[in-house]
C-alpha cells in the first residue's frame, strides 16, 4: 500500500512539525526544523530509485543500470543549505539567551 520510504517521510515530517508547534524551548524548536529537513531530503533521494539498480558511479561498478543521479545532486545542495540555516538559528538562540536570561518562548523580558 505505502512504501517504507514514504512512511518514514510522513513520520519524520509529522514529528518535526509537532516539535515546532508544541514545544517552548528554543533549542527543541530548532531540532524540530532540522528533523523536517531530514524528512524532505529522504523524500527527494527516494524519488530517483530504480529497481535493482546500483550507485551512479562508474568506478568498479558491475553494470550500467544505475539510479537517477539528479535528485542526489539536489539533495547535496539541500543538506548544505539546511546546515547554514541551522547555524544561524542557533546563534540567534545564544544571543537571545544572553539578552533576556532565558530561552523560554513564553516568558518575555525577564532581565532588563
Amino acid at each position: 500500500m505505502i512504501d517504507a520510504q514514504m512512511l518514514a517521510v510522513v513520520a519524520l515530517v509529522t514529528l518535526g512539525l509537532s516539535a515546532v508547534v508544541f514545544r517552548k524551548n528554543m533549542i527543541k524548536i530548532v531540532m524540530g526544523i532540522s528533523v523536517i529537513g531530514s524528512g524532505v531530503n529522504l523524500f527527494l533521494v527516494s524519488m530517483g530509485y530504480r529497481e535493482g539498480s546500483t550507485a551512479p558511479i562508474f568506478t568498479a561498478s558491475r553494470n550500467a543500470w544505475m539510479s537517477l543521479p539528479t535528485p542526489q545532486a539536489l539533495t547535496l545542495t539541500s543538506i548544505v543549505i539546511s546546515l547554514a540555516v541551522t547555524a544561524l538559528m542557533l546563534s540567534f538562540a545564544v544571543l537571545f539567551y544572553e539578552k533576556y536570561g532565558s530561552i523560554d518562548t513564553t516568558k518575555r523580558r525577564l532581565k532588563q
Binding site: V9, T14, Y49, P56, M66, P69, A73, L76, V80, A87
Partner: protein
C-alpha cells in the same frame, strides 16, 4: 484549546498519509530521458567517473555556485553577529 491544536496535528498526519497512499510507487520513475543522457555521456564530456559530481560541477554548476554563496553568507553572518564591541573614545 490545546485539544484543538492536537486535533489539527492529527488531521495533518492523516492528510499526509492519504497523500502518500496515492503517490506513484518508488521503484519505477516515469520520465528518465535527462538522467539517461547524463549517465551515458558524463564520461566523455566531463571526464568524471562519478556522475553526481559531474552533474554538480559541470552540467548544473550554477546551483553549486548558489550553494557556496549561501554557505559563505551564513558563515559571514554568524561571525558578524559575535563581534566584540570596541570602546570608542
Amino acid at each position: 484549546m490545546k485539544a484543538l491544536r492536537h486535533l489539527t496535528m492529527a488531521a495533518f498526519f492523516c492528510f499526509l498519509l492519504a497523500g502518500a497512499m496515492y503517490m506513484h510507487g518508488v521503484g519505477t520513475p516515469e520520465r528518465t530521458q535527462m538522467d539517461d543522457y547524463f549517465i551515458k555521456s558524463s564520461q566523455e564530456e566531463t571526464g568524471a567517473n562519478n556522475v553526481v559530481t559531474g552533474i554538480l560541477f559541470d552540467y548544473r554548476g550554477f546551483d553549486t555556485l548558489g550553494e557556496a554563496s549561501v554557505l559563505f553568507a551564513a558563515a559571514s553572518g554568524v561571525i558578524l553577529l559575535f563581534r566584540r564591541k570596541r570602546n570608542e573614545q
